[in-house]
Subunit: 168 residues, 2 copies
Amino acid sequence: MKLTEAKQQFISSWGAFGTHWGINRTMAQIHALLLVSPEPLTQDDIMEELTISRGNTNMNIRELINWGLVDRVLISGERKEFFSAEKDIWKVVKQIVKERKKRELEPMLQLLDKLEAVEGDKKDKEVKTFVDTISGIKKLGKQADKTLDTMIRAEESWFVGALMKVFK
Amino acid sequence: MKLTEAKQQFISSWGAFGTHWGINRTMAQIHALLLVSPEPLTQDDIMEELTISRGNTNMNIRELINWGLVDRVLISGERKEFFSAEKDIWKVVKQIVKERKKRELEPMLQLLDKLEAVEGDKKDKEVKTFVDTISGIKKLGKQADKTLDTMIRAEESWFVGALMKVFK
DNA sequence: ATATATTTTCAATAATTTTTGAAATTTCGG
DNA sequence: CCGAAATTTCAAAAATTATTGAAAATATAT
């Protein structure tokens, strides 16, 4: 397979992959494109490569920057802004985990705390099932939260080695 | 907070949560409803509780069954079918991990194998960056694959205890 | 067997999300 | 400062995804 074709397949698959994870196709494609680009790209480069509009490009680049996956790069002597993606995949994963934890897991845990304190007699089957379910989710969620915290602080080399000793 | 209100909030949040994970709102809401129901429910119960159409209910229940999260339950003396959700959250998580691994991670790893074998001189910066990126993703992906396999086989009690010793 | 209850399907419709493109704003060299 | 280049915004349009509801298929009681 030629590089051009391989690149296109990667970008397109990464985009499809993203949609299963609540990330929009274009954002994932821009990320993929930057991941495989040796040099930082401009907005125009990205527009052209992916044949998408200026507005769309701009919004999704900004979103990638919010997620901490892409950086603005200044190139001296150039007026335009350049963008580049973090290439270390372990850092990328940690960054995504960090953001999703903050945006999704933590608010969910807060809600569960409130819901667990529902009024009513625990001898009532309805109440008991509700409280038990919420408690179960909360327990696992809290555990996941702690585990992810540690993972975010971990080095890849350490992670890969040590984890396999536990999960044996 | 009263049970009715708490239940509604849980169902609605679980639905919103689902959309961040590529699961449609209704499917997640039906799942949430079944999770907090002490007894199995019929399609009509679900339709009424969530005020959604028969077709929608039917399709999403079927999808939940495909995911292995909901079971058909036969109740003797009843003509209608009843549905109930697995209440053990650890089992639920393992089931979801198992399915997503099969549906997403494994196909992605297969693609990466193909893409890594791209033609071209590795001294070419374009080629080198591409291959390095793909290799990096593949390496982490393969590792994740193995780790998830072990997790799928694990007991919760073991998982919760042992994992915290590593991630300390 | 037949009638009736129940489940499933799927084309049409509705809702939501994404994308466009042109106008407004900002940035920066001269 | 001025003017051109670059970036950002956002209302409208397009594309995608979810939902409805009625008809078809299936299952079951009598």
